[in-house]
Subunit: 465 residues, 2 copies
């Protein structure tokens, strides 16, 4: 069996690369651990089920605003079984559609662990099968890790693989880690009626250089308002099982008791046991596969994409890199790996989207930074929707007018940010953004206004007569 | 009193132009009929209150989907008084903010009818005031019209100015006209529990060349599913008041009885009584002020924007043209009137957004048309949100790769369309759209996929092995 391309891993990256390679006329095959893991972490235990529950949480929050629309609800009950069933149904639909589609397109999926044998051969463990191809793409993704003495057991302590098994909502939960996963689950559990304690060891939620401090501050305030107990600069020192639940000792000396603990604290690349060592494929000191801008590993015809290439573990980064690899195999030079242009989107009590540099990062890099900030508070569409909280924060280089970054917190930020992704990718400048067309009323108007603020000067600072 | 610029009309166009002119250092004044009409039709009797109610309708529709998220609501009551109060509060907040802001910026608003006296003078009726300026911008907007024998009386028959006065929901309503206004109110009234009969004289809803037939079909199907009685190729022949309500005779011979009739049938430009004739400012045969690509009228220093310049009566068209006029006054040549790049967005049972040409329009113009259609049915984010209906329809020229138009029906179409607005404005081609970055999961992915469909060929038609 010889293919043009064999892809190890049918998660977001592998799946997208397979469809793209097929679209471009390649004979392609996929290798994936099992029929149940097609779609990878994102589909089965990540973004898709969490976004499903997040939409439920958003609907529950909406109840508070309904009377303003003349809708007086009589209350509601919660039914986690129904939530779980329907969440699983969405996953299953996507997974089975993909398998059916691959089958229709005659893209075979071989089930078992794929292990590199030589530069053109992947061995499929369990099936005792060798798949040969001119090119190989590694897309094996990442796994959860634990911290210190808190080891997930799926009974008291859950990681993000296990949390989906919960059959009922706990009365209370301690979430360890205020990153993307932590703040998302904090919102979900809180809206579904749980007492939530969120601890983060650093001094802010979303403690990432890519995310402006303002976003962290807004989110912490909102989560607190919704009743989440947010503790910063705090860690878990120990825990023990008692009659009442899990008694936890925190670094601030407090000793709360909770039903369960959820760990949302990072992942490691799946680079062990896939035969990298047979071919001496280079890894960096953190274990990531070293690739060039075309996603080529140290072996010319072997490519890698997604979570195994860098700590930026985003499904769409994997998908984009999958396309970069396939394009390069086909001789294209115009599409390259570019972590700078990867939007980061967090779905918590707000949607929080970031692309490019923050003000601080841009200043450190020596740009002549100017920032245009526009609030959603007075955005008419956001007011109509009862969601007028948040901001658009556009970071530009004053000298060149280049768009350096954009940070949106508020309604549908995850879709709005794409406008700036495209404009940055096209090297368009702030004057273009300020002169483009924005429908009225729309949330998008705030983007145009943020550009006007920097390009023409702030209205409030403008010349007064 | 002499200004750089005086603007007649403080609706969307005038308001935006005033802020923009101020931002760019001009001494500017506004003239508006009364303090209550600041913000114009869009704010006071158009897009803003209707989008408010539309969000309420959307929330009511969401009730049906809540059980899938484990939320079992106990039902709800409707309270139109609360809806009305809160809707009015949003309008008032926006209107008063603008007045306060104008005051802070020292942009005076003179109240009364503005009438052109000479090339540099506008007379403010009622105040017996003459305002002088080097440049004048006319932004007087449009008014409702009636059709045939159906004359709005604000009691039985309402136009879109009067409908806001309703103190309770009618049991039943006949909506005349299946254009943007008609389909929007049909959805709102239906979700708020009214029996709705929607009649349209043409053979489809949204009977506009700019909107693909597919959008009309989707919308009609959905409205019917929600219980709206949609009658196409049907007109109102007569009506009479009876004991039971208004007995209407339709062209199909049926004689339904309804509580009220709502007319959603077009508007006329406000070009009478503003002194155009004193200066011989040219109008076309339909009564629109003739302007060039810089929004200049036949008098060099007098400009016009918005509803009075063409039948494309959109708030953001007025706002954009206001900026075009001010830019031209200041010597810029790089921003021009461009109706082609004006997105049209309809908020009904779906959001329906269009930019540029439909397939049919493009073919008529001689383009070598190719269309990429991607459904939201299998879009993971749309599935997570329980809103996976609709499509992205991208129209391109095969030869050049130029983006000719895009038509989106589905969740948040009104925001998504801006990606294509910017890309068309920047003259970017379909390969750019297909190679850009889209976060996963996002609705925006469907845009990238629609470009891939046309650029690389449809997956289903792709080479099979």
């Amino acid at each position: 069996m010889k293919f043009d391309l064999v892809i190890v891993g049918a998660g977001s990256g592998g799946y997208e690369a397979a469809l793209y390679a097929h679209r471009r006329g390649m004979k392609v095959a996929l290798i994936e651990l099992s029929p149940e893991s097609v779609g990878g972490n994102c589909l089965n235990r990540g973004c898709i089920p969490s976004k499903y529950m997040r939409h439920g949480a958003y609907l529950i929050e909406k109840f508070q605003k309904m009377p303003s629309y003349g809708i007086i609800p009589h209350g509601f009950d919660l039914d986690m079984q129904k939530l779980k069933e329907n969440r699983e149904r969405v996953i299953l639909t996507i997974r089975e559609s993909f398998k059916k589609f691959a089958n229709q397109l005659k893209v075979p999926i071989f089930y078992g662990r794929g292990i590199l044998k030589d530069e053109e051969t992947v061995y499929v463990e369990g099936q005792d099968l060798k798949v040969k191809a001119d090119f190989i793409l590694l897309a094996t993704g990442s796994s959860t890790v634990s911290v210190g003495g808190i080891v997930p057991d799926g009974k008291h302590i859950y990681d993000t693989d296990q949390i989906w098994d919960l059959d009922r909502f706990p009365k209370s939960v301690l979430i360890v880690g205020g990153g993307a996963v932590g703040v998302e689950f904090a919102y979900i559990f809180r809206m579904y009626g749980c007492e939530v304690l969120l601890v983060e060891i650093k001094d802010r939620l979303l403690p990432s250089d890519d995310i402006p401090e303002e976003s962290s501050r807004y989110l912490a305030r909102k989560l607190k308002k919704l009743g989440v107990d947010v503790k910063l600069k705090t860690s878990v020192e120990s825990w023990e099982k008692t009659e009442e639940g899990l008694k936890v000792r925190l670094s601030d000396g407090s000793e709360p008791t909770v039903d369960i603990i959820l760990l949302g604290v990072g992942r490691k690349p799946n680079t062990d046991g896939i035969g990298l060592e047979h071919l001496n494929i280079k890894r960096d000191h953190r274990g990531f596969v070293v690739v060039n801008e075309f996603c080529q590993t140290s072996i010319k015809n072997i490519y890698a994409c997604g979570d195994i290439t860098s700590p930026l573990m985003l499904a769409h980064k994997a998908m984009y890199e999958g396309r970069v690899a396939v394009s390069h195999i086909l001789g294209d030079k115009d599409i390259r790996k570019d972590d700078r242009l990867m939007p980061k989107i967090i779905y918590s009590a707000y949607e929080i989207a970031s692309i490019g540099l923050t003000e601080e990062q841009a200043e450190e890099m020596g740009y002549d930074v100017k920032v245009g900030v526009v609030s959603f508070v007075s955005n008419p569409k956001a007011m109509d929707d009862g969601e007028n909280e948040g901001f658009v924060r556009l970071v530009i280089d004053k000298k060149s007018g280049d768009l350096l970054g954009c940070h949106i917190l508020g309604p549908h930020a995850g879709e709005l940010i794409h406008q700036i992704v495209h404009l940055m990718k096209a090297d368009l400048k702030v004057d273009f953004v300020s002169k483009s067309v924005y429908s009225h009323p729309s949330l998008s108007e705030a983007i145009g206004q943020s550009a006007a603020e920097v390009y023409w000067g702030s209205l409030t600072w403008a010349k007064r007569h």
